[in-house]
Amino acid sequence: MTSVRNLPVDALVELALTDDRRAVGRLLTLVERNGPEATECAMMLHAHGTGSHVIGITGAPGAGKSTLVGEMVQQMVDGGSHPAVLAVDPSSPLTGGAILGDRVRMAGVTEAFIRSVATRGHAGGLALAIPGAVRVFDAVGYNPVVIETVGVGQVEVDVTAAADTTVVVVTPGMGDAVQANKAGLLEVADIFVVNKADRPGASDARRDLELMLDLSHMTGQEDASYRPPILMTNSLEGEGHSAVIDAIETHRRHLVDTGQLAKRRRRRIEFEIESRLSTVFEQRMIELKTDQRWVDIVDTTTAGTIAPPAASQQVANLLLH
C-alpha cells in the first residue's frame, strides 16, 4: 500500500497540485507543524498563487457560524465554485487537546475541502499556520477560502489579518451587537450577518448595528465609500445565504475597484513576514539563553560594567549572526 503520508514535500506538492486530497491534507499538517517541511512547502507553493478570495467568518460560539458556512459553501459548489474551509476551534488550555465539531454542521457538504484546526499546538501560533494553510488552498486552486473562527482575542486578529473580506455573525438578543462593538469586531467587519433571524429580536439586533455603524461613520474611522451591509439569515431553513454570497462578491469588487485588495494583500504578506521573524527571534533567544555568552553578558551587566541598553545591543548582534 502506498501511503501519501510518508512522501517527501516535493512529491506531496506535485500530487497536491493535481488536487489529490490526501496530499493536500498532509501538506496542511506539515504547514501546521511549522517545521522545515512547512518552509519547503511555502517556498514551492508561493509562486503558484492563484489569488483566491479569502473570507473570514467570525462571531461568538453558538452564533451559527458553522451552519452558515455549510449552507454558503454548498451554494458556492452548486454555483460552480471550488471552495475550501478552515474551521478553527479552541484547544483545551489544560491538555492542549480539542474537540473539533464544526463538520457536524457541514455534514451535507460533499465537494468542498473542509479542514478543522485547533488553536493551540502551533509553533509560531495561528499567525503562521493560517497564512500557510491559505497558501496551500490557493495554490491548489480552491476559491474562495473560508475561515471560520470564534471572535475573540488573538485568534480573531490573526484570522482577520489573513482575510480579504470579514463577515461578523451575531444573533438576536443577549446584546450580541453590543458585545461585537466592545470586542472591536465592528472595526473589522465588512459584512454583518444577523443569524437565527427566525428568533425574536432580530430586527432589534439589526437596528443596534445600524446605530453603531452610524456612530463609527461619524467619527470617520471608516472607508467613506463603503458601508458594511447588515443581512439576516435563518440557517435552519437555508434562508438569506445567497444575499450573503452576493454581498461578499460586492465587497470583493469594491476592494478590486478601489485598489484596496492589493493593499490588503500586501499588508497580509507584511504581517506574515513579521510573524515569521518574531518566531525566529523568539526561538534564537531561547537557544541563546543556554549559551555561555548570554550568561557573561548578564553577569557583566549585573556587575555594573555595562548598562542594559549596551547589553541588549550585544545580544542583538548575537541574534543576527
Binding site: M1, T2, S3, V4, R5, R21, R22, V24, G25, R26, L28, T29, E32, R33, N34, G35, P36, S91, S92, T95, G96, G97, A98, I99, L100, G101, R103, V104, A107, T110, F113, I114, R115, S116, A118, G121, H122, A123, G124, T279, V280, Q283
Partner: protein, 134 residues
C-alpha cells in the same frame, strides 16, 4: 524551529442509522483530555463521508462507535472503504461487540475493539498503541 509535538488526530463517527451518541461523546472528551485532537463527525455518517473526512483532516486513526447489530457488516465495509481510498490508517471499533464476533472483526482488519465499559485509560492507551503500530 521547533516542531509541534506529534499530536494524534482522530476522526470519531457513527456509521449508519444508529442514533445513540452518548458513548461517542464521552469517548471524545476522554481523548481530548488526553491531549488529542478529536474530529467529531457525529451521527449518520457513510463510509464515503468518513473517508473524505480522514483525507481532508489527515487523521491518524478512525474510531467508529456501534450500538446496533450492524458491526459485522459495517466495520468490514469501513476497512474496505479505507483500503479502496488508499488510506493507511487503523480503525478502532467501540461499543457493544459480542465476544463471538471479535475474531471476525479482527480478521476483517479492525485494529482494536473497545467494549462499552472501557475506562479512559484503556481507551487512550488503545488509541496510542494502534497509532504507533500503524
Amino acid at each position: 524551529m521547533t516542531d509541534k509535538t506529534e499530536q494524534i488526530r482522530i476522526v470519531l463517527a457513527k456509521l449508519g442509522l444508529d442514533g445513540h451518541d452518548r458513548g461517542i461523546k464521552v469517548v471524545a472528551r476522554m481523548l481530548r483530555d488526553a491531549g488529542m485532537e478529536v474530529i467529531y463527525l457525529g451521527l449518520r455518517q457513510t463510509t464515503d463521508s468518513i473517508v473524505a473526512a480522514v483525507e481532508q483532516e489527515d487523521a491518524d486513526v478512525v474510531g467508529l462507535s456501534m450500538h446496533n447489530a450492524g458491526h459485522l457488516t459495517l466495520a468490514p465495509a469501513m476497512v474496505e472503504a479505507l483500503r479502496q481510498g488508499d488510506i493507511d490508517v487503523p480503525l478502532i471499533v467501540g461499543g457493544i461487540v459480542p465476544d463471538a464476533d471479535v475474531e471476525a472483526l479482527e480478521q476483517a482488519g479492525v485494529a482494536a475493539i473497545l467494549g462499552p465499559g472501557a475506562s479512559a485509560e484503556e481507551v487512550v492507551a488503545t488509541v496510542r498503541s494502534v497509532v504507533s503500530e500503524a
